[in-house]
Structures are given as structure tokens and as C-alpha cells.
Symmetry: C2
Subunit: 198 residues, 2 copies
DNA sequence: AGCGTTATGGACGAACCAGTCAAGAATTAA
DNA sequence: TTAATTCTTGACTGGTTCGTCCATAACGCT
């Protein structure tokens, strides 16, 4: 009944994510995104409303995909829970070190730039962080059931600590820490987790 | 021999720091700073060159003051080294929780926004991080000499871990974590540091 | 006091950018 | 084929912002 869209919405969101991620919110121009996607500005505004709304979509999308990725990495049976946790911590360190552009994580970058003045971004970031902590807590509890982590430790508190270490690894990576430093942090963090009294 | 300045340079830098800290680099206008300091734009440009140079001055200043503050907090004899470390970690958690505006740390915020595209900022951030790690390492080594931390642990690696936790606390605070969560992280981080075999 | 030098402050210029709009294009229903 | 509807394109607008310029002010030296 009407002219169909020529572009794929998700693809535009992905391209916009790249731009916002590289340049930050304020420094990215709508025209950059229009050029990068091949769309005219009218289509962009017609489909997404405006710069702020587009960023909200991108940010929401990104947070969801990060949480989903971690959920996949940490899902499994109790026997492998510690291996999954360990692999995840090392993976974050490796990914951060591999990010030579030091873009860090859009979740952190977006929150740093906008959370103070944009309640929507702040809420979404908070929700994502809470989801990540819950995932870590679930895996740590599984480690405890399997005897890999001391049963008398509070899994919630350990999860919060691990989450802080992971976010810290990203922050240090953005500040230019070496890959060796980052993997050392990952190794040390895993090493200090309380083991069951053998 | 010539007309003297009517303003105090350091005071202008402090005011500019406030502005950049609240709004970020891109979102802060030179005119904001001019109004906030009472200076005309001509004086501002005459004294500091331009927006980027002004930010570099502010950022350099801020990094220096952060490192100095930590240096003061961690300086002392071996007997109190653990108390100082503990107080420092709790202080960061408390300060982050008290920062209800979620501005976080200008070091992190500036690095997040600009490090990727501004080598000067990236270098300064790296230097500050390294200085912080060295300070922590010195204090942890003192703890070891005093028997508060296991002597066989690598003080450099523990320092890197603590630094990651501290940066992580700030990142989580910016994302909206509660004061309880942050102090829990501080407590847990101190609790998992390896103690000497009694 | 007169002069050279530097600071001041606000008006101005030029570029930039978010968002709008109107004319035309593509599609389906009838 | 025609009408109705939605999409596309890119020029345009209005506001904003960095940085400059210049007439004037304040100071020290001679």
C-alpha cells in the first residue's frame, strides 16, 4: 500500500553504533551517520526521530547484546562454572588489550558522557550492570556448589568484586595499560578468590 | 612594563575544570567558561590559546592533583601501611557514592571521551595511572614488610588488582551502583588480599 | 607625563550542525 | 491505470559555537 523502506533498520543501528562508539555522542554528526549508511537525513529522522532517540536505540541495543553475550558465556552446568568464570575474566582482559583504538566499551563510554544528564541512559546502564552482576553471582554460586569457591563466602559480594575488576580492566585498558598488566590483573583476581578449605 | 592580569590563572583552571567535568569536553562551551570566570573571551584565548589547549592544561592539572592526593594518603611508616591502604580503598568507595551527580573522575571521563583521538590526553592518563600503580605497590610492599600481606605475593600484581578494583568502583558508581554495593566491593577486595600464613 | 607593552571585553565572522520541508519516487489496492 | 500512502533526497533554516579583531584600559619605565 505504500513505498517500502530501502534500508535495514538493524544495519543502520549497527553503523550508528560504530560512529557513536568511535566519536562519542556529542562529536558524532547526524550527517556522518547518514553518509555512513547511505541514507538521506530525512529518512534517518523519519525512521528514528532524532539524534537523542537514535542514540537511545543504539545504546539499548548495545547493552542488551553485551548482557546476552555474557549470559551465553556463563551458561552451563556446575562442573564447568569455574572454568567459565575464568575464561570470561581472561576474555575481557584479552578483548580490552586487543582494542588498540582504546574505544573501551560503549556502555562505559556512553554512561560516562551522558548518564549525568540523561536519565534514560543512566537507567539503561544501571539495568545492564545489575544484569551482569546477577549473571556473575549465578556462576559463582555454581562454583560454590561444585566446591571451586569457598562455600561460606557471599556470592553476591564476590560477584560485585569481580564485576568491579572487569570494569576496572576496561578503564585501565582505555588509559593505555599493557596487555601484560591486564592479564596479570585477571590472573590475580582469580587467584585471590577464596578457595574451600581443602 | 605592561598591564598586569586581573585574574588568577589557577582559579580560572579550577573553574574550567568544574565545567569540563560536569559537561564533558565537547558539550562545554568556551563562553560558559568565560561567563563562569567573569573573563572576556579575548582574555581566555589570549591566556590559554584555545579550547583544546585549555583542556590539556586542566587535565594535566587534575591528573597531577589526583596523584598528589593519593601520594599524601599513602605516605607513612610500614606499621600503618595496611591501615592507609584500607582507608584509601574505603575513601574511594565513599567518595564515589557521595558523588550523587555521577560525574565520576575527570581522569576517567576525559580519557573515555578523548584518549582515542588525542594523544596528549592519552599519554597524560597513562602516566597518571602508572604513578597510581607505583604508589599502591609501594604501600603494599610496606604491608608485606610489616607482615600484613603475604610476603610471597607479587606486590606489583596486587597493586594492579587494587587499582583495577578502584577504577571499577568509580565506573560502577557512575553507572548508578548503591553506596552499599560500593563499600561491599571495597570490603571484599581488602578481605581477599592474601594474608601471611599465620 | 608620555610611551611602549600587554590585558580586557564585547562585537563580529565564518563554519557547523540538528532538524525541517517539499517535490518526487516506489509500491499496493481497487 | 489511478489513487492513496509512505519513503527518499538534498537543499534550506535557524541557532549555536569557535576563534578573531580592535578600540580601550592599565601598568612600568624613562
Amino acid at each position: 500500500m505504500a513505498r517500502p523502506r530501502k534500508f535495514d533498520e538493524q544495519q543502520v543501528l549497527d553503523t550508528a553504533r560504530e560512529r557513536f562508539w568511535s566519536g562519542g555522542y556529542a562529536a558524532t554528526r547526524m550527517e556522518d551517520i547518514a553518509e555512513a549508511t547511505g541514507l538521506g537525513k530525512g529518512s534517518l529522522y523519519g525512521a528514528f526521530g532524532g539524534k537523542q532517540e537514535l542514540f537511545h536505540r543504539v545504546f539499548d541495543d548495545y547493552c542488551g547484546s553485551v548482557v546476552d553475550a555474557v549470559r551465553r558465556q556463563l551458561r552451563g552446568n556446575d562442573a564447568d562454572a569455574y572454568a567459565r568464570l575464568s575464561a570470561h575474566v581472561y576474555a575481557v582482559a584479552a578483548a580490552t588489550a586487543a582494542d588498540t583504538a582504546h574505544r573501551g566499551c560503549l556502555l562505559a563510554k556512553g554512561a560516562a558522557e551522558l548518564a549525568e544528564h540523561d536519565e534514560t541512559v543512566a537507567k539503561r546502564a544501571r539495568a545492564a550492570i545489575e544484569a551482569l552482576q546477577a549473571l556473575l553471582e549465578g556462576d559463582i554460586a555454581a562454583c560454590q556448589r561444585n566446591g571451586d569457591i569457598a562455600a561460606d563466602a557471599d556470592p553476591g559480594k564476590l560477584a560485585a568484586l569481580v564485576l568491579a575488576v572487569l570494569r576496572g580492566i576496561e578503564a585501565l585498558g582505555k588509559a593505555g595499560a599493557s596487555e601484560e598488566t591486564l592479564t596479570d590483573i585477571a590472573w590475580t583476581a582469580l587467584a585471590v578468590l577464596p578457595r574451600p578449605a581443602h
